[in-house]
């Protein structure tokens, strides 16, 4: 089943009176259980694509379906709902709330799904355990290492049991060893059946996935399976 379905998706910006075609007719289909990397040089439109896939934005033209929701002309509230229920997002810069501790950070998406307090806490704690941070539950993000922060972010992304997990350069701010560990977590999540989409310009990261989609000048330039290429 297609979790992501893009048909001739266009995204134009106007910057200083000039039209910028960030995406210019993208066709893309990602099925359940896939492990995908989206790559491309900076300015290729991969960030814009990521924002669309992450339901932070709607396309200027074209058809976009995420997890069965037609979001081509979605309202802000519809996007919020899909972000909350169907999508987990892991950022390059972690994006944790510095005033909240680890468990509270993981709880945040559950707050907006209306999960009652006690259940929220239990669920958040079980996810913190799953990413191996049970010793750090009451710590603030500032007291954690980058790798630990990213594990908290992964726990937060998974807390609503989303159908797709997006990673936007999830290893970009980490040293290579920690990056590998985080990447390993994504691989494991995929093996457990989760659909994982990583945006990266790092070929090593792209290499662990099963399908690489290269974006250039706002279009899909080529697709390949890194396991059979080379």
């Amino acid at each position: 089943m297609a979790l992501v379905l893009l048909q001739d998706v266009k995204k134009y910006y106007f910057l200083g009176g000039q039209e910028i075609r960030a995406l210019d007719g993208v066709n893309l289909r990602i099925d359940e259980g896939e492990f995908v990397a989206i790559t491309g040089p900076s300015g290729s439109g991969k960030s814009t694509l990521m924002h669309l896939l992450g339901c932070l934005d709607t396309p200027t033209a074209g058809r976009m379906e995420i997890c069965g929701h037609d979001l081509s002309q979605a309202t802000s509230d519809q996007l919020s709902l899909v972000r909350n229920r169907e999508i987990g997002f892991v950022f390059q810069s972690f994006n944790l709330l510095s005033r909240l501790n680890v468990v509270e950070n993981v709880e945040v998406p559950l707050i907006y799904s209306g999960v009652p307090g006690r259940k929220r806490r239990e669920k958040a704690e079980s996810l913190v355990r799953r990413v191996g941070l049970e010793q750090r539950m009451r710590n603030r993000p500032t007291q954690l290492s980058g790798g630990q922060c990213q594990r908290v972010a992964i726990a937060r992304a998974l807390v609503n049991d989303p159908r797709i997990l997006f990673g936007d350069e999830p290893t970009g701010n980490l040293d290579s060893h920690t990056g590998e560990l985080i990447l390993h977590m994504f691989t494991e999540l995929h093996q457990a059946g989760r659909t994982v989409v990583l945006v990266t310009h790092d070929p090593d990261v792209a290499a662990v996935t099963h399908r690489v989609i290269e974006i250039r000048d706002g279009r899909v330039q080529r697709e390949y399976d890194p396991r059979v290429a080379a």
Binding site: D77, S80, V108, Y112
Partner: protein, 443 residues
């Protein structure tokens, strides 16, 4: 989003910037404080004045007074006997809406206890007078029907009279003593309680300050000068008939007790709701006894009440204005702080949006935060208001003690909440309109 969570987030934010939050509350604190103080002061005046009104007879008491008759009726003037005891009988029989009626014969007489002598106004009245004038018996009893029927020589005296005539006795112990009115012996059968204003009671309880004592000494003024209760405290009341036969019949040899002109005719209306109808009944009854001559009128307390209302309205307006300005300043302060706080938290808002917060969740979060600040300011303001009131009573003790009602506290807190909502709206709209992508990129 759960309101409780917003509250928790809001409070966390407020407490992480304690000093800043406190500063932004100041306007609200002052506004609510002055609101409380204003309401306490006007409330105190209102309560004091009402209590005073009650004690001097309340709105229900009406004096039937003489009135100049119009020029075209001058020729008929002689037809009317004026106010007499007949009027009191007529009202008693023909005006069922009037609950009490009493005629009054007054005479200035030397009053003596054998030792002390003073000259006071003695009044002959009916037993109903107790209710009409809202007198309260401290000891003994009031004049009864039998006293009036038989013309008994008994007297009920005011507290000040008792204390002046028998300086060595407690006023209550003067019951049973003999009092001489123009040398005629009367038995004191009752003493009234001491009537006083809040101010005088406070002064008595605290004792006079040295300065006040000196001043009074120098000027020789009596402490109860200007006391509206003086008349009640210096009352000497005897039965109407006794007054007539003992002191008046000689002056009016042609009159019986029924036709002697009376100095006063007071009535008490049973129910204020039927005030006008009751006066109508009285008017009909008196038109007969006065043979159709319109030479009487009614003196009511409504004008007093209107004046009091007006005075309080002006106090309330000025106090309300101060409170209003403070609250406005407070609202601007909170708006300002919330805008600053949002600018600081653009990224946080972006993160919350990214994990599923809707625009309205962000809106609610900001509103809850500003309302929390305003409510805290309101609570502190109530405490400050209590302080202002205490300070005012200490510095300038007025006629009536300020009085903080639960309603005024509720109202002030309500105002604070409204200010919180209003001052939060603009920042909340700004915050909820942030584009999640831009907000996430914000450094």
């Amino acid at each position: 989003m759960n309101l409780f969570i917003s509250l928790e987030t809001g409070l966390r934010e407020i407490f992480s910037h304690k000093f800043r939050s406190f500063l932004s509350m100041l306007g609200i604190v002052l506004g609510v404080g002055s609101l409380i103080a204003t309401m306490a002061i006007t409330g105190g005046i209102e309560r004091g004045t009402r209590a005073f009104m009650e004690q001097i007879g309340g709105l229900e008491m009406v004096n039937v007074v003489n009135k100049e008759i119009s020029n075209d009726l001058q020729d008929f003037w002689n037809l009317s006997p004026g106010r007499t005891l007949q009027d009191a009988y007529a009202i008693k029989q023909a005006a069922p809406l009037v609950s009490h009626v009493s005629p009054q014969l007054d005479l200035g007489l030397p009053v003596s206890s054998g030792g002390q002598t003073m000259r006071v106004r003695v009044s002959g009245v009916w037993p109903d007078f107790l209710e009409i004038a809202r007198h309260q018996i401290a000891a003994g009893r009031f004049i009864g029907d039998l006293d009036v029927d038989r013309g008994q020589r008994c007297a009920v005296i005011g507290n000040t009279i008792a204390a002046t005539l028998w300086p060595n006795l407690a006023p209550a112990d003067t019951v049973g003593q003999t009092i001489y009115l123009n040398d005629s012996p009367f038995t004191v059968v009752g003493v009234f309680t001491l009537y006083e204003r809040d101010r005088d009671r406070l002064a008595r309880e605290r004792g006079l300050s040295k300065v006040e004592e000196d001043r009074r000494e120098r000027r020789g003024t009596r402490p109860n000068r200007g006391d509206p209760f003086r008349g009640k405290n210096e009352a000497v009341l005897i039965p109407f008939t006794t007054m007539f036969y003992e002191f008046k019949s000689a002056a009016f040899p042609d009159n019986s007790s029924d036709t002697v002109p009376i100095e006063n005719l007071t009535i008490r209306i049973g129910n204020l709701k039927s005030f006008e109808q009751a006066l109508g009944e009285v008017r009909k009854a008196l038109e007969i006894t006065h043979r159709g001559v319109d030479d009487f009128g009614f003196d009511t307390r409504e004008d007093w009440f209107d004046q009091m209302e007006q005075r309080m309205r002006s106090t309330r307006t000025s106090g309300g204005l101060i409170a209003g300005i403070s609250l406005l300043v407070g609202a601007i302060g909170i708006t300002n702080i919330m805008l600053a706080s949002i600018t600081e938290r653009v990224r946080e808002i972006g993160i919350r949006r990214a994990v599923g917060a809707r625009a309205r969740d962000i809106f609610l979060q900001i509103i809850v935060e500003s309302v929390s600040i305003a409510l805290m300011g309101g609570v502190i303001g109530v405490v400050v208001g209590f302080g202002i009131v205490q300070l005012l009573t200490l510095l300038a003790p007025g006629d009536s003690e300020p009085f903080i009602s639960a309603a005024s506290i509720g109202l002030s807190i309500g105002f604070a909440a409204v200010v919180g909502v209003l001052s939060g709206i603009y920042p909340a709209v700004q915050a909820s309109r942030l584009d999640p992508i831009q907000a996430l990129r914000y450094e």
